[in-house]
Symmetry: C2
Subunit: 275 residues, 2 copies
Amino acid sequence: MATPLVAFQGERGSFSEEAAYKLLGRKIRVLPCETFTAIFESVTSGKANYCLVPIENTLAGAVYENFDLLQANNLHIVSEVSLRIVHNLIALPGTARKDVRQVYSHPVALAQCRRFFAQNPKIERITYYDTAGSVKMLAERRPPGAAAIASRIAAEVYDARILKTHLEDHRENYTRFFLLSKTARVSPKANKISIVFSTRNLPGALYKCLSVFALRDIDLTKLESRPLHGRPWEYFFYIDFVGNVKEKRCKRALAHLGEVTNFLRVLGCYESAKR
Amino acid sequence: MATPLVAFQGERGSFSEEAAYKLLGRKIRVLPCETFTAIFESVTSGKANYCLVPIENTLAGAVYENFDLLQANNLHIVSEVSLRIVHNLIALPGTARKDVRQVYSHPVALAQCRRFFAQNPKIERITYYDTAGSVKMLAERRPPGAAAIASRIAAEVYDARILKTHLEDHRENYTRFFLLSKTARVSPKANKISIVFSTRNLPGALYKCLSVFALRDIDLTKLESRPLHGRPWEYFFYIDFVGNVKEKRCKRALAHLGEVTNFLRVLGCYESAKR
C-alpha cells in the first residue's frame, strides 16, 4: 500500500490524530471527519484505508456510540493503541503565560483540569466544541489574552506554543483506540480477541457464556453491555479476551460460545496495546 | 410522612415527572433540578424526601452518569418504575396541526421521531436543551407556528395541547428509573436486588463472581461495567438480580460474593417494575 489514509473524528490536531501517529508513525495521511458515523463510512466506502476510533477512557468509561457502530458496520479491528491523555496549555507565539485571561476547550477537557483553574482563579474557562478546534480558532481569530487546552499535536499543527504541560488532574487518564479496516487481518503478534454476542434466553445465560473462557483458563480483559433494539431489557455483550484465533483453545472457546448464544461475531484479533 | 417531595432532573413536565406520578400517584410535591448531581444532593441534604433517577433506556442504553452517582453517594434504591417513552407533538391553544412550521425539542427526542419529519418535510427541527423546557418556552415566548415534542405531562403543566401522539419511530422505547432515599427500606413485595462490586485481581474473577448466583439458580437481569478511577482498565460491576435480601439463598450468595470481591455494596432491594 502507498501512504495509508487514516480517518478520525475531530479537527486536525485531535487526540485521535496523536494516537494515530503513536500507532502508525508520522508517515500517514490523515482525514479529519465531523462525526463517528462519518469515519466508519469513510472506510466502508473505500475513501480511507483505516479509521481510528476511541473506544474507552479510564476516567469517562466506554465510548458507547462506537460500540454500537462496531455492531452496525462490518469493519474489522486490526490494531489497538492506548494513549495517555496529556492536556497542554497552548497559545500563539507572542502570548506569554502571564498574559492568559481566557482558556478555550471542550467541556470534558476543562473539567479534567480543575486544579489548574483553582490555582489560577483569574483565568476564565470558555467551553468550545473541540479541543484541537479551540487551537484552530486561536490561529484564525487571534483573540488577545486567549489560550486553549489540547494535545501537543494541536500546537504543532497550528504553529502554536505549549505554555504549560500536564494540566490534567488525574495522571491515570488513558484512552484506548481501535484501528479499523474493511478487510480482516491477523498480525503474527496478535494476542487479543474482541467479540460481540447476544445470549439465548436461558437461566444463567451470561454465566454459561463466560464459562467457555473460564473452563479453558482464558483471561477476559473487558466486558461491556449495550441494549438490543426492539427487545427491551435484552443486551449485546462485548468481550475482549487474551489469545489468538489460531490457537486451539480459542477456536474451541468460540465454537462452544456459538452453542450458547443467539448471535456471535468476532470483531478482530490484534496485538494488545502497550500501556 | 406528609406529602413527599420528589426531586428530578429537568424542567416541570419532564419524563421523570411522568414516571414519578406513575410510581407514586399524583399526591406528591415535585422539585425540578438542573443536574443529576443536584438531585442526589437534594436528598443527601434532606431538602427532598426522594429523587427519581433515569438509569437505563431500551434504545440509548445506561445513563452512565447516574451509575457513577449511585456509587459516589450513599443513597438507597427503594423502588423502580419503567415508563414507556411516548413523544407528543404539543402546541399552544390556537395553533392547529396545519399551522406548525417549527418543532422544538431535545436532540435525542428529535432523533427518535425521524419518520414524522420524513413525512412532514416542510417542518423545521430546532434543537432545544430539554423536551419539557421547549413547551415552557412556547408558553413564555409564544413564537407563531411553533410546536414542541415532549411528554403528555408537559402539555398539562404548561396548558398546551397535544396535536398528535406517538411520534416516536420505535414503540419499544422504555426508560427505567430508580427512586432513591436517604434511608434503606425493603418493601414486603421486594423481589429484586441491585449491587455494585469490584473484583479481586485473579484469573476468571468475574466468572467467579457470577458463579455465586448461577450455583444458586439466581437469575441476573442486568450487568453494567464502569471504570474504576485511578486503576486503569479495572472496573466496577453493577448487577441486578432476582430475589429478596431476607431469602437464605440471597444472603448466602452475597456472603459468597464478599469472599471473591475487593468491594461490595448492596444498593437496594425493591419491587421490580411492571413493564
